[in-house]
């Protein structure tokens, strides 16, 4: 199965019943698959007029209680940024798949990159927090996409599947489970204010058409959902809650794999370069070289770095000029070294082995 197809299948298995999208390489197969499948299962496939409309339709559909997603790549991702901020402010669960390609601008439509990692985190304006997963295999395209829906619903926050052209277009054998875990949205208790913090700072969801009479606005709003856009205290309380509900649940959301926890030289990776690292570790066969592989990249699991007690250096191979490497460096006193690869090719295991050996 192809990575993009697995992504679509994972979404359908998780109960996604609305897809709004606009064609763009290298994500288009997701839309094509959804166009074939959705009508057969009573879902909706909407090809919108652009990416701004795609994410808007997804947010609209999500407010009816439906699990909704869109998929895009670099330029389309940039176009979605404003409404992603809207989804954050209005606490709208939705899944956005970004099959990353070379940029800036039109860049390399058919080659892989990981240049949007900071954009998914900070691309929209204002202070915010989001969740992002990064699959490293076709199997994970299926599993992490399904998981993204649960995270989005649990925390009422846009959740990103930060794939790349390599994983999206790769074909591998995958094991399709009979069913995936589906943790549905917790509905708002009647009589509760729609944007009151609720448990874990996440309010229950007042889906449209159920008599809640909820007003949803991107303006700074109070617990009733009414605009209150000039009071500094209302704004601070709201934005701190929106950020805090995600950052405060970092340990609960975190998902990563550790290889050789006693290692001195440790690779940190996510997405496709994880495959190069895994190969390098196998070829090296040296317990002094370890690996922290992130499946959830945002919120960044800072505490995972501390698990490598003997680490003398962290090496971060990425398909960009250094994005997550900065985040890693913020959380440790140990030197953190970027290994950049841009142009569309994956790091060769040979290059990673040479780098690691240089620090041993």
């Amino acid at each position: 199965m192809q990575g993009n197809t697995a992504c679509a299948e994972g979404a359908l298995a998780a109960g996604c019943r609305f897809y709004g999208g606009y064609p763009i390489t290298p994500s288009t197969e997701i839309a094509e698959h959804m166009a074939r499948k959705m009508p057969k299962i009573g879902g909706v496939f909407a090809q919108m007029e652009d990416e701004l409309a795609s994410i808007a339709s997804v947010i609209g559909a999500s407010w009816t209680g439906a699990r909704a997603m869109t998929a895009t790549s670099g330029p389309g991702f940039s176009l979605m940024m404003e409404n992603i901020g809207y989804a954050v402010m209005t606490e709208t669960p939705c899944v956005i798949v970004d099959v990353q390609r070379g940029g800036p601008s039109t860049g390399q439509p058919t080659r892989a990159a990981q240049g949007d990692m900071m954009q998914c985190r900070f691309g929209s304006h204002g202070d915010m927090s989001i969740i992002a997963v990064s699959p490293a295999s076709v199997q994970e395209m299926y599993e992490l996409t399904a998981k993204a829906f649960n995270l989005a619903d649990r925390y009422r926050v846009p959740t990103f599947v930060m794939a790349d052209e390599i994983i999206g277009h790769m074909r591998e054998r995958i094991a399709v489970p009979d069913s995936v875990e589906v943790v549905p949205r917790r509905p708002l208790e009647k009589g509760t204010l729609p944007f009151a913090p609720g448990e874990d700072n996440v309010p229950g969801f007042p889906a449209f058409g159920h008599g809640y009479g909820v007003h949803v606005t991107g303006l700074t709003h109070d617990d009733r959902g009414y605009p209150s856009s000039t009071d500094p205290r209302v704004h601070e309380r709201l934005v701190r809650r929106l950020v805090g509900k995600v950052e405060g649940a970092n340990r609960e959301i975190a998902d990563y794999e550790v290889t050789n926890p006693d290692a001195e030289v440790v690779f940190i990776s996510y997405g496709a370069p994880s495959r190069s690292v895994a190969q390098a570790i196998r070829d090296l066969d040296d317990e002094r070289v370890g690996h922290l592989r992130l499946k959830v990249v945002w919120p960044f699991p800072d505490f995972a770095l501390a698990a490598f007690k003997n680490a003398r250096v962290f090496l971060v191979p990425e398909l960009n000029l250094g994005q997550m490497v900065r985040e890693a460096a913020r959380h440790t006193a140990v030197p953190v070294v970027p290994i950049s690869e841009i142009g569309g090719e994956l790091h060769t295991p040979r290059r990673l082995i040479t780098m690691a050996e240089g620090y041993l």
Partner: protein, 262 residues
């Protein structure tokens, strides 16, 4: 139920300026919705950004106050996911015709079952009276200080050309006709556009010798020409006064539509 029962009484008075026509259009819309016999539970209001788009916040139903220009795609998502809900969009001329122009024509083309009420005040009101795609030639605004030199959009004709099933234009002076038009839009499956020309004494009237709301209402009354008469003038080759504009029902038809409940 009276149409005023649809308002969130705890949020009134609203933020509109003295004499703003938007409040009148809200009345007419709610009156029409109320006459349909719909309940607040099955009705959703969606809007973009601008003065007009604040309207859903004053209505007791579920409502989405979205981003600038994007009300129609948000509403499309709601409608396609829950075709049984009645979805009404409030928008303004800047929101609909400038930043949202593409969504507008594609909404008409899809003929998605929405009723879109555009409060056309000829300018951007909320940001203080800048020129919009509907600012008449020669009119003054903060960004057309020497008179507007761009031709305006004719929103109603645009919607007809793009494939909407129901299109009409009235003004906030024509409260009865406007109510009837909104009701006709709500009844027609597919995309309905009701363009309501409204007075903005603060942002438009003040700079165009129509300082008071009453002056603007009188101006609309005197410059709106019934569409029948307008077309007869066309046939007879009688030129139109450039300050006048046609009002009435532009189209009511039954082209294939999307999102209509089965």
């Amino acid at each position: 139920m009276n149409f005023q029962d649809w308002l969130r009484a705890d949020r009134l008075p609203h933020i509109y300026c003295t004499g703003c026509g938007n409040g009148t259009v809200i009345n007419c819309t709610l009156n029409a919705v109320n006459q349909m016999g719909w309940t607040p539970e099955e009705t959703v209001f969606v809007s973009g950004i601008g003065c007009s788009s604040r309207a859903p916040g004053y209505i007791i139903t579920d409502s989405l106050h979205t981003t600038h220009g994007r009300a129609i795609p948000f509403a499309t998502g709601v409608k396609l996911a829950r075709p049984d809900l009645h979805v009404v969009v409030f928008t303004g001329d800047g929101d609909l015709a400038a930043i949202g122009g593409n969504h507008f024509i594609h909404g008409c083309r899809r003929n998605i079952d929405l009723t879109v009420i555009c409060m056309n005040n000829y300018i951007y009101g909320m940001t203080g009276g800048q020129g919009s795609p509907c600012t008449p030639l020669g009119a003054y605004s903060t960004t057309t200080p020497y008179g507007c030199d761009e031709a305006p959009f004719d929103l109603a004709s645009l919607a007809v050309a793009a494939g909407a099933n129901y299109v009409s234009r009235w003004t906030s002076y024509h409260v009865q006709e406007l109510t009837r038009a909104v009701k006709a839009g709500l009844e027609t499956p597919g995309f309905s556009l009701i363009e309501a020309v409204v007075q903005c004494p603060t942002g438009y009237g003040r700079r165009n010798k129509l300082r008071e709301a009453q002056d603007m209402i009188a101006w609309m009354r005197d410059h709106a020409v019934l569409l029948k008469k307008w077309r007869r003038m066309d046939e007879e080759g009688v030129p139109h006064d450039p300050a006048t504009f046609p009002v009435g029902e532009f189209v009511r038809r039954n082209l294939p539509a999307m999102g209509v409940p089965k």
